[in-house]
């Protein structure tokens, strides 16, 4: 199977703002990530804030050029951001992100927003354009009369539908969803998740689904990569990774998901702070918070290796089989 998108050795680093007395430092937000997305596949990326998952998503879309490494789309290298070729390619790949109110231009009607990609890529105009907009509106489950509304007149879920409709307008083949439902209320979240699933299945889209909400990821993704401090620490088919997490971080993450009625028993409470890319620990980045880390973990950076039907990066993999509850 030919991958629709392939990323190898992606690194992104930023220069931090000058501190009071020191020299400007550099922060590696993403530090050597390989990822493949196959046609029709939904890949989940989970991790806490600062793990670099959003940055990775933006690089996969070509929105920012990687510091090093390569992204190729359909076998061709990603063109430089803002170039004409890059702009043309936008029709084929789209981003849906967390806050639909911020993503929408609050001065344009729903219809105008959805028509935007059609105008930009000169896909349709006039009556055809109106038709297509109406069809998109219908497809994402909005009422036709809502076409003339403004974003702030819609509820959060409806707005996210508008964003999705706009993303689909140019009939893309690849979609990155960055926390698409985090800002939504529980009852609406399910509506949007269902919509995304239906669309993905019907259109055969390839999708990268970024979220910190494991339950949603579990529900929508075929394959999941767990990121910690800019690296993938575990990657596996979704069924496998949640049922049987191997990396201690994944284990903690999975156990920390509050389960209705389950109380706090059996949860792995990680000590310490969420990862800070500006102060990366030596060796395995996770070792200061890891229950099973030893001196070796502080010395050696574990490689992402194939292990029992998954990829994982932990020196203690063998001794760590299903120790989590």
């Amino acid at each position: 199977m030919n991958a629709i998108l392939q990323a190898t050795g992606l690194v992104q680093q930023y220069t931090t703002a000058k501190s009071l007395f020191g020299k400007p430092g550099t922060v590696r937000a993403v530090d050597g990530v390989d990822l493949t997305v196959n046609p029709g596949e939904v890949v989940g990326i989970v991790g806490e804030s600062g793990s670099g998952k959003s940055t990775l998503g933006r690089m996969l879309l070509g929105l920012e050029a990687p510091f090093s490494g390569r992204v190729s789309y359909l076998g061709r290298p990603m063109p430089a951001p803002r170039s004409a070729e890059w702009r043309r390619l936008r029709a084929q790949m789209q981003l849906i992100f967390q806050d639909p109110l911020a993503a929408l231009d609050r001065r344009l009607t729903v219809a105008a927003q959805i028509a935007e990609p059609l105008d930009i890529h000169r896909i349709a105009s006039g009556a055809e354009r109106q038709e297509r907009v109406a069809a998109l509106i219908h497809r994402v489950g909005l009422r036709p009369d809502q076409a003339r509304r403004y974003p702030h007149e819609l509820s959060g879920g409806q707005r996210q539908r508008v964003v999705i409709a706009r993303a689909l307008a140019s009939q893309p083949r690849f979609l990155v969803c960055d926390e698409p439902v985090s800002a939504l209320d529980v009852s609406i979240q399910a509506q949007v998740v269902n919509l995304l699933r239906d669309l993905q299945e019907r259109e055969g889209l390839s999708m990268v689904f970024i979220s910190h909400d494991l339950k949603v990821v579990r529900n929508i993704c075929d394959r999941v990569a767990v990121m910690y401090l800019g690296r993938i620490v575990e990657e596996a088919p979704s069924d496998r990774i949640f049922a049987d997490p191997r990396h201690p971080y994944t284990q903690a993450l999975v156990s920390s998901v509050p389960k209705a009625g389950a109380g706090l028993r059996g949860r792995i409470i990680l000590q310490g702070e969420p990862p800070n890319p500006a102060a990366r620990p030596a060796g395995c980045a996770f070792h200061p918070r890891c229950r099973i880390a030893d001196a070796a973990c502080a010395a050696k950076v574990p490689a992402l290796e194939r292990h029992d039907g998954r990829l994982a990066a932990c020196l203690k993999l063998q001794s760590n089989q299903r120790t989590a509850a």
């Binding site: 703002a17 000058k18 501190s19 009071l20 007395f21």
Partner: protein, 309 residues
């Protein structure tokens, strides 16, 4: 020296250099000071001698370089009118201007901010509306109209205060009042909105939730935060004060740099005009630096970083 101080200093120097270049170019491009200084009846000999003396016949870039060299040696030139050193001429006037601007600024701060805070704490009340209306009136009246009306009322009709001149502290009352009234209005309005904004912040709710008396919430939690934008405005006001001094000093015959610049500009006394612009630019840059440091003192998040512009 810490890096950020160096950066700030370099920026300040660049700004001053820009101002000086601007002054030089505007002043030199706009014609011949000889004609102005020597008057309409000056014979050609005198004009020629004057031009030669002040190097006005050299190419512009040569004059510019010579000027920069002078500046680098802290030589600000001498007045074309009476040969006295320009810097001294300007510095002689600075105290008089400070005697107006500093109290005016104090008044603005001491009246404007409390009035604005009071209005913010009593929103929609009669006092609030009163503060807003008065403040808008305060800054919509041109200062020269205000000045002349004040003179008419307090000097001519009531004969309480002198109409102009500088012979004692009571001579300063009307000019200071004229200068500060508009600023009080602006500051009151701005403090009010800054305060209202801060009062809506979550940490105010936290302070209230922990049972802090309302007075302490306002003084210890809201005010220090509202101070950041207010300080910015106060920084801008320094410029407004200098500009205001031009008009107010003319109305009240107050011998400060505002009048000196009007007179020097009218007489094309290049060295003096350049020197005044330099002094003003330097004090504005200083004021901005002070504001920057005040940010740091007021808001730990802004320490070391340039405040958001």
């Amino acid at each position: 020296m810490p890096r950020f101080l160096l950066t700030k200093f370099a920026r300040a120097m660049l700004t001053i250099l820009l101002v000086m270049s601007f002054a030089f170019i505007v002043l030199r491009l706009s014609g011949d000071p000889a004609q102005v200084l020597l008057g309409p009846d000056a014979p050609q000999d005198a004009v020629d001698a004057f031009r030669a003396r002040w190097g006005l016949n050299d190419p512009l870039w040569q004059q510019y370089l010579a000027y920069l060299r002078q500046l680098a040696a802290f030589d600000f030139g001498v007045s074309m009118r009476d040969h006295s050193p320009a810097l001294q001429l300007v510095m002689d006037r600075v105290p008089a201007t400070l005697a107006l601007t500093v109290p005016a600024l104090m008044l603005k701060i001491c009246i404007g901010i409390p009035a604005g805070v009071y209005a913010a704490l009593h929103r929609e009340s009669v006092a609030d509306r009163g503060v807003i209306m008065l403040s808008i009136f305060g800054f919509t009246i041109p200062s020269f109209v205000l000045g002349l009306v004040l003179v008419l009322v307090f000097a001519v009709k009531l004969d309480w205060l002198p109409a102009g001149g500088q012979d004692g502290w009571h001579y300063a009352i009307l000019p200071i009042a004229t200068m500060s009234i508009g600023g009080i209005g602006i500051l009151a309005r701005f403090s009010r909105s800054a305060m209202i904004e801060v009062l809506g912040q979550p940490y105010i709710r936290t302070a209230m939730a922990k049972g802090l008396p309302w007075r302490d919430v306002v003084w210890k939690h809201a005010l220090p935060n509202a101070a950041v934008p207010i300080v910015t405005l106060v920084g801008f006001m320094v410029g407004a004060l200098i500009a205001g001094a031009v008009v107010v000093e003319s109305i009240f015959s107050w011998p400060g740099i505002g009048r000196l610049i009007v007179v020097s500009v009218a007489n094309r006394d290049l060295a003096v005009v350049q020197c005044i612009l330099l002094v003003i630019a330097a004090s504005m840059v200083m004021a901005n630096l002070l504001v920057d440091f005040a940010y740091g003192a007021l808001d730990p998040r802004l320490r070391g970083a340039a405040p958001g512009r």
